[in-house]
Symmetry: C2
Subunit: 547 residues, 2 copies
């Protein structure tokens, strides 16, 4: 079989645009004597469509698009198409919708497979929208027995779920028992640091168990918090990897299942993959929101520097403006370092000092604050002045503010709501501080893009005299360990202490994490790169007591 695999970047909700991509591939490959063209999961509406799926008019629009594809295969007499779309169910109970993979050809739907295993954890809400498919059948097509599956259907492996077997059914086992010669898996599987290693392990395992050709198609692109990395691939029934698609890049490739030349698997370095995923995340957020330019507050610290580099790579130097907003507590070094960064990146750069505005706030608040000692209130006022200035520029010129906070500070609330937390997108909010340093080093691998002074100075919020992060926080190596255990691994406090970290440090850290849920509730969407990011996939009550 000769198959065109379309690893594409759909826009959520843009049914016309996504359909156009489908029809264009169908036209362009018509002369290639293909047997099949394959698109990814829910390609018609983009993934994840979230609550657009509960709107009847939205499903109607998807159905119209499917009809247009059917129509096209009638006129064209070309190859069959496998594509994902939400399809209404005929059952007289249930949510009334399936997450389906359709095999379309010769003017009709030849076969419909409805996703059986519906992920409903972390960022996934599929049981909110879909009924689970009940039939798992193969379909004869051009001499093959195709087993068509959708994403999670092939991931019924306890290794993914910390040893837990969360699904009863195993579609692969059933398809194999029914004689599937080729299994196709259309996916929308978002990037996270260890995802590709996990994917490879699981695919290796299933390939070792079964004798079918295995075709895996994943979408690419950023959709709000999620970044889809593609890396679609084909492994033939001789267990040879005969095609692997690039990470994060749209591509249509024609694969012949009879091809026998094995391709060497090239794992991508972890830091490189993070770096490139974040750039894609920024790029698509702007593109899909209809914006071009970003404004970033440059503090002279490493977080804003890394954010700025990523934004420049995503949007181009000409579309970035860096603003440094020194207060009396800002070191001269910070301003100089920010200016140097801007120069290195060839971005527009401006200085807007905040002290006069700050003094005016203090004067206006004096009748209320009286002679109370300065504390975080005054620190936050400065951060919020900066937020207001950036948002003012954003509103005036139509830029998006990029928020620069990292995961460690967001976790313990070492950030100001409506201040430095302001922004349309939070670029590195899922990177613990220690990881931010690693990315910075990678950025500087060839030349000094981020001034070394920024990387080497001790981290400081510069909101009061001689302030350093480590005055109030444990060293980042320890902090990040605690946070990893608590947030990503769901360890209990006792278990964390049992790893050997000082009890008092653990307790005060977890206390801060819990106390700052309210800030994160109002945080900008942040690009997800770990197994557990703050935001949509982590749902913690605020008015609660569990510490």
């Amino acid at each position: 079989m000769k198959i065109a695999i379309a690893q594409f970047n759909p826009t959520v909700g843009d049914i016309d645009g996504n359909l156009n991509k489908v029809l264009t591939v169908m036209k362009n490959t018509s002369k290639d004597k293909m047997d099949l063209i394959i698109f990814s999961e829910l390609f018609i509406c983009g993934y994840p469509p979230k609550d657009l799926l509960v709107k009847s008019w939205f499903i109607n629009k998807c159905e119209v698009a499917v009809k247009k594809i059917i129509e096209f295969t009638k006129q064209n007499k070309g190859p069959g198409v496998i594509i994902g779309s939400p399809i209404r169910s005929n059952n007289n109970y249930g949510k009334g919708l399936f997450n389906s993979a359709l095999l379309i050809g010769k003017g009709k739907i030849i076969f419909q497979y409805n996703k059986v295993l519906l992920p409903n954890y972390d960022v996934f809400d599929e049981e909110r929208y879909f009924d689970s498919g009940e039939e798992i059948e193969v379909v004869k097509y051009k001499g093959e027995k195709l087993g068509i599956t959708v994403c999670e259907d092939v991931w019924n492996n306890p290794k993914i779920f910390k040893g837990k077997k969360i699904y009863k059914k195993d579609p692969l086992k059933i398809l194999s028992s029914k004689g599937a010669t080729t299994v196709i898996n259309i996916s929308a599987s978002p990037y996270s640091i260890n995802k590709e290693t996990m994917r490879r392990k699981i695919i290796d395992e299933l390939i070792s168990k079964y004798d079918f050709n295995f075709i895996y198609i994943n979408q690419v692109g950023g959709n709000d918090e999620l970044i889809f990395d593609g890396q679609s691939r084909v492994i033939n029934n001789k267990k040879k990897l005969i095609s692997i698609f690039p990470s994060l890049i749209e591509k249509v490739e024609i694969v012949d299942l009879n091809e026998n030349e094995e391709i060497a698997y090239q794992p991508i370095n972890k830091i490189v993959s993070i770096y490139e995923a974040l750039i894609m995340g920024v790029k698509d957020y702007f593109l899909k929101c209809g914006f071009e330019k970003a404004v970033i507050g440059l503090s002279g610290g490493i977080d804003s520097a890394v954010t700025c580099v990523l934004a420049k790579e995503a949007l181009g130097s000409e579309n970035i403006i860096g603003i440094t907003m020194p207060s009396v507590y800002s070191s001269i070094g910070s301003i100089k370092d920010s200016a140097k960064l801007a120069e290195n990146l060839k971005i527009k750069f401006d200085i807007i000092p905040i002290n006069v505005i700050f003094q005016q706030y203090l004067k206006s608040l004096k009748p209320m604050f009286k002679n109370l000692p300065e504390n975080t209130a005054e620190e936050n006022i400065q951060a919020r002045i900066r937020g207001n200035i950036l948002m003012g520029i954003s509103n005036k010129f139509g830029y998006i503010v990029l928020s620069t906070g990292n995961k460690s500070e967001l976790a313990v609330g070492y950030c100001t709501l409506y201040g430095d937390m302001s922004g349309g997108l939070s670029v590195i909010s899922d990177l613990p501080k220690t990881l931010v340093y690693e990315v910075a080093k990678y950025i500087n691998r060839k030349e000094e893009i981020i001034p070394n002074e920024i990387i080497n100075k001790p981290p400081s919020a510069e909101l009061k005299p001689d302030q350093f992060d480590q005055d109030t926080l444990p060293p980042y190596e320890i902090l990040d360990k605690i946070l990893h255990f608590y947030i990503e691994e769901d360890y209990s406090i006792e278990d964390i202490i049992n790893t050997g970290i000082d009890e008092e440090v653990v307790l005060s850290t977890i206390n801060k994490v819990i106390k700052n849920e309210y800030k994160r509730y109002q945080a900008a969407p942040g690009l997800k790169i770990t197994e557990k990011a703050f935001g949509f996939g982590r749902r913690i009550p605020i008015a609660a007591k569990y510490f």
Copy 2:
């Protein structure tokens, strides 16, 4: 049977505190020769515990609490207890957790029922955490055949779901066929405007169909966005309402199923129910977050006035401070009206003008803004100055800022992110503007609490000269209709136009709703009172294209 029904207000996560409430009732009723004491759904951990349920240590703590109740029934030889708790499953697949109702007595778990129908729509995520129970059995207890159910189990009625039958199983039908003489439903069913009418309709229907006694126990209290209204009730097998609990109030009542005196059902007026629910929502948010005092920006408009009255009712005059922050565009009337409101409410009141600060921003931004005409950028800067002042006061004195925006303006983005949207809790964010007026009228039912000037003046943001809401928005009666159709009823644009509203008005309104998803993503949690509130129960992508 003599049954004590505990309509209580658990705190989410506070397992020790909730357990204490249980043990106290068990002690206090021990002399009353009870047969049974009943608590609400997931009472051990409070509802909704959200992602605390995926933490193994949290489930362990719930299990310990259950063991303490078991222990207590052993020592006490008192009545049995029915209570909700998350309980691990023994299945070797699935999520591994049930939402269970336990019948505990004589030192053991006599019977365990696992919730079968798991709501997974709107604010409910139960399929994220729980496996559906598979057995639906009655249990013989003190001469009765008890059918124990959990919340949604008795709501398998298409009337709730716009005619859709979303569940296949009907636990009530099965329990009835197995001879249940008394059905107990332990619930955590949040308030919304029409919920009680719906509840009554559904209960009437099931009572007309079946011949058992029906005992419904609901929790009370506010938990973040959700307000639980209680209204627990008992209907005997002669179809007589023999007990109904008050709305929103904690109460333990002893009910005898042999009691035959019918109680008159007193429906609560819609506006009264909203008013009281919101007060409960504010009160519990503060209590459960560990705060006492609120600061509110008083603009002289109706939204901040209504918010202020509700806060005063929830927290007491002595715990509220109103701040008016006039700009050059504020009318003298607005300041006077706010002062009068504060006087009427006997709350602390202060005036902090923002113009000097605003001028300083303009001066600082002049090198960037140059001579560009003033627009929303300058308007938003003023709103954000106010946000900064309120947050400064909040940080200095440990108050929570209450956000005052209504649903209509939040829908179309007629509000400033990090400006008037700032706050720990949004009190009236689920009230369309037209409903805000109705609540204001109710507040003034006996005397002028909100100055009539505030109610009668045309709504204005007062962010530029002679600005009125209706310069850029359609009349609120029309706006609220469009928003209701689009947000609550999921109408398509065509369907809304077909109701007879001007096409251009519909299009520009929906366009605004979609464009402002990004603001709402970062909005404070808001108290839910309609079928579809912004926030947790409405999940819409931002970087998307569907208009």
